[in-house]
């Protein structure tokens, strides 16, 4: 997951790597995802999210569609 100044710069990167565009997030949404995903990582009772739990989190942040399906 990389940061770009603009969609133009992302386009250059995709062309250079020969890769299609994936999903684009604002830094604010990426921060919201990072916060929800990692804020409990040092909790002694931490466990990996189930697929359903991860999907629910993605939906909560508006990350929907086939791209965000884990299975």
């Amino acid at each position: 997951m990389l940061l770009f100044r603009s969609e133009e710069q992302l386009g250059r990167w995709c062309d250079a790597w020969g890769l299609p565009r994936g999903a684009i997030l604002s830094p604010a949404i990426c921060w919201a995802l990072a916060r929800e995903w990692y804020q409990d990582r040092r909790d002694p009772n931490w466990r990996r999210r189930t697929v359903d739990e991860a999907h629910a989190l993605f939906r909560q942040l508006g990350l929907t569609g086939d791209f965000w399906k884990l299975n």
Partner: protein, 144 residues
């Protein structure tokens, strides 16, 4: 006590404290167990996607932290850690429950970029790109 959870937390505590991942040998010494015992637990955690090991068996990623230098530097005061990607670099601030900054660069042009989190709010122009769909994230976690 030496079990998966305790070992996992020790790795995170050491990275937070020193900005470096502990070696397998150091963990074995700290817990008073054989290197092979630590390696076996780490391998099990790697296979369960709880962390990522280097080919040598040493820790590569204890997400969101990277054990090796990357272009994603998370800075809190005068302390720094490496993240695995922009998501993880922000994730370090989430893990630490702290204000701070991510020092990185545009992956297209190389210009320096800084993301700052203050009071749980991030403001910055730019876009984050997820190249691979979620179901493929673990196909090549290092590239991803």
């Amino acid at each position: 006590m030496f079990d998966d959870s305790t070992l996992r937390l020790r790795i995170y505590d050491e990275i937070v404290r020193t900005s470096e991942a502990p070696s397998v040998a150091a963990l074995a010494t700290q817990f008073g167990v054989a290197v092979e015992d630590v390696s076996a637990v780490l391998r099990r955690m790697h296979n369960a996607h709880l962390l990522v090991l280097q080919p040598s068996g040493e820790v590569l990623m204890a997400n969101p932290f990277s054990a090796v230098p990357t272009p994603f530097v998370t800075e809190v005061g005068d302390r720094r850690w490496f993240g695995n990607c922009i998501w993880d670099a922000l994730g370090i601030l989430a893990t630490l429950h702290s204000n701070g900054r991510v020092l990185t660069s545009c992956a297209g042009c190389g210009d320096a970029m800084t993301l700052e989190v203050r009071d749980a709010v991030l403001t910055r122009d730019g876009i984050v790109h997820f190249a691979l769909p979620a179901r493929r994230w673990w196909d090549d976690i290092v590239f991803n």
